[in-house]
Amino acid sequence: MMAKLIGKRITRNEDPRLLTGQALFVDDVELPGMLHAAFLRSEYAHAILKGVDVSAALERPGVVAAFTAEDMGDDWSPGPPLVIPPPTIEDVEFYTRTQVPLVKDKVRHAGEPLAIVIAENRYIAEDALDDIVVDLEPLDVVTNIERALDPDSPLVHDDLESNLAAHLVQEKGDYAAIREGADKVIKRRIVIERGIAGAIENRGIVASWDNKQQQLTVWDTTQSPIPIRNGLASMFGLSEYQVRVIAPFVGGAFGPKIMMFYPEEVLLTWSTLKMGKPIKWIEDRRENFYATTQERGQVHNVELALTSDGRILGLRDDFLHDTGAYDPYGLTIPLNTQCHALGPYDIPNFSSDLKVVFTNKTLTTPVRGAGRPQGVYVIERMLDIAARELGIDRTEIRKRNYLPKDVFPYDNIIIDQAFESFVIDSGDYLPAMEKALKLIDYEKFTKEEQPKLREGGRRLGIGVVSFIETTGVGPYEGARVTIESSGKVNTATGVGTQGQGHFTSFAQIVAERLGVDVRDVHIVTGDTAQFHWGTGTFASRGAVVAANAVNAAALIVRGKVLKLAGDLLETPEEELELEDGVVRVVDDPTRFISLGDLAQRSNPLRGAVEPGTEPGLEATAYFGPKYGATAFGTHAMIVEVDPETMMVEIKRYIVVEDCGTVLNPLIVEGQLHGGVALGIGNSFYEKLVFDDNGQLLNASFADYLIPTAAEIPTIEIAHQVTPSPLNPLGSKGVGEAGAIPVPALFAQAVENALDVDGLEILESPLSPLRLFELFHGEEKDA
C-alpha cells in the first residue's frame, strides 16, 4: 500500500537551497546596468511641505536621477484602497484616505517619502539625500488615539471634519436590555499598544522595464504578487501580460508585506518605466520601523454582564482603533477584533461601537494575528475578572460558557472581515481545554505546588486561556498541476511564500494523489508568469484555500492518468493504482506504465490527437470557500516573576491546537512555535514608543526588543483534530494561531504570580518597568 503522505512529518523540499545560500531573495537579484534608489523621508510627523529642491543632489557624481511629487505630473495619485469597507452593514461611516507615492502638500507621519534619488550605487544615493533642500513647516501632532477625536485635535486630513476614519456599530441580541437584569456587570478600560511585525528581511523591490521586449519585471517582497501585477498594469497603462511580478524567497512577512501599494512599489516602477534601466531599492531597518506598516493600537471600554453563576449574558465592547495616517486596509483589523471578542463562547447579546481614528503615525495593517489578539485579550481578561469577583475558578467560568459542540455551524450574527455573517464552521472546545489542564497539571499546581512555593516567597503563576481563529477566507486560489515527460510534477500556485513550507505541504498533497515521490513535486509560488489568478498569502489561508486548489487540480490530473493508462493497459481504471511514479495493475504489478511515458504519449509530436481531448497531463483548478474555517485551541503557561527585577521567566508553555486536518505536523508545529514567540514579544518585550511629536524613540533592534533564544521557552504542543466541513481536505489555517492568545495568557499568568489584591493587568504589552509600577501601586505616566 502507498504510504499516506498527507499528515506526515516530512522534512522540507526547500531547505537545501535555503541552507546552502542558494535561494534567491530580492536583494540577491543583480541585473546589468542596475541602478540603486534611496528615499528622502520626512523627519516631522506632521508638516506642510513648502518645497523640495533636488538640484544639488543631481550634481553629485554618480547620481542619475532624483524625483519629487511634482515630477510625477499626472502619474501622481493616492494609492487605491486595498480593502474596501464592508458594504453590508447599515450606517457604516468610512472615510477613505490612502497613502501617496511621494508627499505633495502635507506630511502625515514621520518617514513619509518626500523624494527618490537614483544613483550608481546605494552609497551615493544615500549621500545625495543630504544634498536635497526641504522646506517643511511643522504642525501640531496627534498621536494619542484617545485624544484624536477631541474637537481641538490637529487634523491629519484637513478636508475631514475630524480624525474619524470610520464608525460602525455591530449588534447581536439586545445588550442594553439584558444589562438591566444582570446579576453582575463588570466594566474596565483596556489599552493595547503598537508593535512591529519584525520580519528579519526588510522590504525590497527590483523593477526593470525592458523596452525591446516591452516587458516590465518586478521582484518584490510582497505577500501578494498577482494583485501587485494587476494593480501596476492598470496604474501604468500596461497590459497585464506585459507585467511580471516575482515574489521569490521572502525572508518572513507576518502581514505588512501584504500591504499595497507601498509608495516604493509605485516609485520604483514609475522610475524604471521612465528611465528604461533596472532599479533596486532595499529598505533598511530604520526605514522599516517608519515606513512598513504596524499594528495593534486600540483602546477598549468593555462591559461584561453575567449571572451570579458566571454565565455570560452579554458583552459590550466600545473601542478606538488606530489606523495611523491613512486607511487603505479598511476595517479588517477591528472587524477581526469584534469577532474574536466573542471567542468560543455563547454570548447571546453583544454590542460594539467601533471608531477608527487617524493619527500622525505609520499606517496600521494586519500583523500576524490581525486584530484577533486584541479581541481575545478583551474577553479573556474580562472572564478572569468575572471569575475572581464571582468566586469561580478561571477555568470553570470558561467551561460554563463554551458553545457546545452540537451547535455548529454557529451564526454569530455580526459581520466578519470577509463582510459575511460571522459563522463558526465547527468546534469542540471543552476537550482542548481539558487536555491543556491535564498537560500542565492545573489541579496539582494550583492546589499543591503554588501554595507551597508562595510560602517560600516565590511568585509563580499559572494561566489558561481559550481562543478561536478565523482562517482561510476567500475569495479563492488556484493551482495548475502538470506531469512532465520526466515523470516529475510541476505545480504552479498564485500564492507567495514566506517560510510556511508550501514547497513541501503542497507537494505532499500532489504526491499522494499521483503516487510520486514528494521530492519529485516541484512547487512554484509567487511568479505571475507561472500562474496569474489568485490573491495572496494572508489570513492563514495557504493551507486552506491554496492547498484545496492544489488538491482539486491533482485529482483531475489523477483522473486523466487513470483514463489514459486504462486505455493503454486495457484494464478498467478501478483495477489500477498509482505508486512509485507508475500506474500499474493492482493484481499484476508487472504490467505498468510510468507517468513520464504517459505524459509523453498524451503530448505526441506527430499523428492525430482525438478531437475534443486536451494534450498533456495537466489541470488547473480553483477553490473558493463559502466562508472561513475557524481554528481554535487552549494555551496554558506557568511563569515565575522575580519580585526584585520584575523579570518574568516562562517555566512551561502548553499549546493545544485544533486546526482541522494537519497537512504536515512538522510545519504546523513550527508555525505555532513562531507564533507563540511573536506573542511573547507582544506581551512583554515589544512596544513602539512614540513621543508627543510623533517620533519613534526605539527605531532599531537595539532599542525595540525582539525576543532571542534566551527568552523563548520550549513549547509543548498537543493536537486535536476537528476537520472543517467547508473544504475537502478538512484543513484550517494555523499561521497566526500561535500569536493570538499569548498576551491574554501572559497577563493572566503574571497577575496570578504577583498575587496582589486589587492588582489587575489591563494593558499589553507589559515590561519589567511597568510591572514594577503596577506592583508598587504607582500610576502610569501619562
Partner: protein, 162 residues
C-alpha cells in the same frame, strides 16, 4: 572622492584581489562584489546576526566591518559548508529538525554555531545558549534551532566530519 584601495582577501579558500572604496561594508562586499548572496543583511546595526561570517575563524558581523579591514584575512561564508546534494551535518540537522522557515536568518545561525561545534561537540546548556542568543529569528521561536544544534553535535561527534 575617497581614494579606492586594493585588498587581498581569502574567501572560502579562494583568493580575491579587489579595488574598493574604503567605506564599503564587508557585508556588501561579500554579497554584491563577490556575489556570495547566502550571507544576509537584516539590520546593518549589528543586532540581528543574519550577516554573521567567520573572520579568521571567529563568528563576526559583516555589517559592522569595512571590507578594507578584511585585507589579508580569511573569511568563511555559508557557501563554504555543504552543497545542496551533500549538506554539512549541521545543515542536515537544520533540515531534519525544521530549524528554518523563511531561511533568512539561517546562514547567520549556521556560521555562529559552526565554530562552537567544530571546537567541541560536548555542549553544555550554557554553550548552547551562548551559541544562539546573538542571532534573531522571527519565524521559528528558536526551539527547533536548539534541537538542530544538539542533533548536529551528535552527528559531528560520531564522525560525520565536515
Amino acid at each position: 572622492m575617497i581614494k579606492a584601495m586594493d585588498i587581498t582577501v581569502t574567501v572560502n579558500g579562494e583568493v580575491f584581489q579587489k579595488t574598493i572604496e574604503p567605506r564599503l561594508l564587508l557585508s556588501d562586499f561579500i554579497r554584491h562584489e563577490l556575489n556570495l548572496s547566502g550571507t544576509h543583511v537584516g539590520c546593518e546595526h549589528g543586532v540581528c546576526g543574519a550577516c554573521t561570517i567567520l573572520f579568521d575563524g571567529m563568528p563576526t558581523r559583516s555589517c559592522l566591518m569595512f571590507a578594507v579591514q578584511a585585507d589579508g584575512h580569511e573569511i568563511r561564508t555559508v557557501e563554504d559548508l555543504g552543497t545542496m546534494e551533500d549538506l554539512h551535518p549541521l545543515q542536515e540537522a537544520f533540515q531534519e529538525t525544521h530549524a528554518l522557515q523563511c531561511g533568512f536568518c539561517t546562514s547567520g545561525f549556521l556560521m555562529s554555531i559552526l565554530p562552537i561545534l567544530e571546537e567541541s561537540t560536548d555542549l553544555s546548556e550554557e554553550d548552547l545558549k551562548r551559541a544562539m542568543e546573538g542571532n534573531l529569528c522571527r519565524c521559528t521561536g528558536y526551539q527547533n534551532i536548539r534541537d538542530a544544534v544538539q542533533l548536529a553535535a551528535e552527528k559531528m561527534s560520531s564522525g560525520g566530519e565536515s
